[in-house]
């Protein structure tokens, strides 16, 4: 596989919540100010460490939702029922509150704005987060590389960044966005809810002959299914990068 170097030592930094936005009733975007943040590539993630007042601490990893922008680090967190960390970050954590972060982490599931090959992004649920960073980075860098996003969600209410995605699909030349719904479709949708299949990927992705870079992110079962479809359609396994969310997290 290709090599990607991310040198240097990663230190813990103290970030503070600058602002927060609700994406859905259970998902929240956190904009952190992290003095000394070294920047990152779209697709990378951060480690977050929370410490309670008795000294107990725990860590989680979260994908970064937006491209590098000075000392700002934007995360979108899905509240996991019974989770230890995500309910705190989505419901309790308030502007001005501190949290420790270190990163960026991960040198493989990244898109570099200088890349020239077409890109296929396939997101399942909250797997949209690192892919959204790529879509935003593409526009910010003025890249003309054609992007296609297939975004699978359970219901229309589960879509993150819905207005922005529809606006970008209209305004960002060369970006196509296709939604897929697995449990409930919007009014007037041409077919009932269904899992993403070979036909969806074939119709809304790129032909293998164009040698696209494929990024697939979502729950394990979703990623396994989509990656198998892409390989079966003839995409080179080495051009297929995956990021899986385990059944736990929280």
């Amino acid at each position: 596989m290709a090599r990607a170097a991310v040198p240097g030592r990663l230190t813990w930094r103290v970030g503070r919540l600058a602002e927060a936005r609700a994406e859905t009733p259970t998902a929240r975007t956190l904009v952190l100010d992290v003095p000394g943040w070294p920047g990152h590539l779209p697709g990378q993630h951060v480690d977050v460490r929370l410490t309670a007042d008795d000294g107990y601490s725990t860590q989680r990893s979260y994908s970064i939702a937006a491209p590098a922008d000075g000392e700002r680090v934007e995360l979108t967190i899905q509240a996991v029922p019974e989770g230890e960390v995500s309910p705190y970050l989505t419901e309790v954590f308030s502007p001005g509150d501190p949290v420790e972060v270190r990163g960026p982490v991960g040198g493989w599931f990244v898109w570099r704005p200088a890349a020239m090959d077409p890109v296929l992004l396939v997101a399942g649920g909250s797997g949209i987060v690192p892919l959204m960073a790529m879509i935003r980075a593409r526009r910010a860098a003025g890249s003309r590389v054609p992007f296609r996003l297939i975004y699978s969600v359970r219901t229309p209410g589960d879509v993150y960044y819905g207005d922005e995605l529809r606006r970008r699909a209209r305004d960002d030349a060369g970006l196509d966005v296709t939604f897929a719904y697995t449990r409930e479709v919007p009014e007037g949708w041409p077919h009932p809810p269904r899992r993403i299949g070979v036909a969806d990927v074939n119709t809304n992705g790129w032909p293998p002959a164009l040698t696209p870079d494929c990024y697939v992110c979502g729950p394990t079962g979703f990623v396994e299914a989509v990656a198998d479809i892409l390989v079966a359609l003839g995409h080179e396994p080495r051009r297929l990068r995956t990021e899986r969310f385990g059944p736990t997290g929280g």
Binding site: R9, L50, T51, S94, E100, T220, V231
Partner: protein, 199 residues
């Protein structure tokens, strides 16, 4: 002690369980992979140890099944923060596979079907510390967890336990593998929290 996040309490502290720093306990078995899951036809599966003098030692699937196996029960720790305790495996000890291999190498570069690699000192594969595992929890190892066979080196972060293992290259020098080249630690001891380069 780190910076306190106001209002964060965390889960009730588990008593009697000590995890490596920064890890949390899970009952599930999450998956971490960089690409699609390779499907390896069993009649073409082989495992190869290549020495520093390019001598090759090969096992077919039938060869591997004919070797004596162990059933280790071990704790595993993933760099993505989850730990899973008391996991049951079946596999062939690297001590068995290395018994006829003549080498003066200090390092091993592990190769997988699909192109994944990971590096570790040879000493960490020996003395009952590592297996080529093909059963988990009493069942054949599922492809998404590395089946038909994966390396199992539970005392290091789990990315060292290469899924879909196809061979081990013995070397005098320490050649970084896939995640190690992408910023992860060369050794990866969870108890010293060696997640990333420089830790």
């Amino acid at each position: 002690m780190g910076i306190v996040s106001p209002g964060f309490h965390g889960r009730p502290r588990a008593s009697g369980v000590t995890l490596p720093p920064g890890q949390y306990l899970t009952e599930d078995f999450p998956v971490l992979s960089a690409g699609p899951t390779p499907r390896v036809p069993m009649d073409r599966w082989e495992f190869v140890i290549t020495t520093e003098t390019s001598r090759e030692h090969r096992w077919t699937w039938a060869d591997l099944m004919a070797l004596p196996s162990d059933t280790p029960t071990v704790d595993i720790h993933c760099v993505t923060k989850w730990s899973k305790l008391g996991t049951s495996w079946q596999g062939v000890s690297l001590d068995t596979l290395m018994s006829d291999v003549d080498t003066a190498a200090d390092y091993a570069l592990v190769h997988s079907y699909g192109g994944y690699t990971t590096n570790l000192p040879l000493a960490d594969l020996l003395d009952g510390q590592a297996w080529v595992a093909y059963r988990f929890d009493g069942e054949d190892l599922h492809p998404e967890h590395g089946g038909p066979a994966r390396l199992l080196v539970p005392h290091l972060y789990f990315w060292k336990s290469a899924k879909w293992v196809r061979g081990i290259q013995l070397r005098f020098d320490d050649e970084p593998g896939f995640w190690e080249t992408a910023g992860y630690h060369d050794y990866g001891d969870p108890w010293r929290e060696q997640r990333y380069q420089g830790d």
